[in-house]
Symmetry: C2
Subunit: 113 residues, 2 copies
Amino acid sequence: MQDVCRTRAVLDIVGDKWALLVVRMLKDGPLRFTELKRAIDGISQRMLTVTLRDLERDGILTRTVRNVMPPHVSYELTPTGRTLREAAAPLLEWSLENLPHIEAARAAYDSRG
Amino acid sequence: MQDVCRTRAVLDIVGDKWALLVVRMLKDGPLRFTELKRAIDGISQRMLTVTLRDLERDGILTRTVRNVMPPHVSYELTPTGRTLREAAAPLLEWSLENLPHIEAARAAYDSRG
DNA sequence: TGCCTCGGTATCATTCGGTAACCACTGTGA
DNA sequence: TCACAGTGGTTACCGAATGATACCGAGGCA
């Protein structure tokens, strides 16, 4: 199966721990750096910066800087980014629905030793 | 948004670089360790072991050992695992469709410096 | 004069993933 | 008899990715 390596290449983008959460947060329109940081609980400043850079590089979102003080930088999904969000939505829903299930399975596994 | 941390918890499972590929490979029925290793190009033996353990722990797949020699160990999706595969399918399709687009965006970004 | 916000860097510690070697056991071939 | 391969791992080690924390400049506000 040749697709494996190509899928791998894209999962490197999408599976990098924070990318999908950023994409999801941007679904209703652009947000500023600090808004994203507040919305995505637990992300460090550095990782948000890195994630946003990577997503911009891959054409998933755009970065818009207004030259004012204090700085005003906003991030918005591109059309490609919006298709990604749609493709990722079922997985994100699944994660919310199945978390209790998974935690139970994990606890059972751990208690078995 | 409280869901973020819960989504995060599941993306830890799903986003760990190889998990979705393993789940995808198992869609047509159980496979043995070595079959998976051959099918998923580039995965190391250790990472396949680790990934399979984690997915078993989370109730995504089952591990079945037949006590024969040579060892015969097969892995199969649980019902939860099958729902995960369905939820992940759109994202995997997206990745195949959009890889050229992303590579182009990346090249353009890099050439801009 | 401090102190805050915003959007980041710089620096360091910790964790993750990959490589290579090794294991037990059996079957196969010379 | 001896070597070697396949199977499903485990272990030690190392570099890369990630995370926590501190700091920055410019302006606003007290």
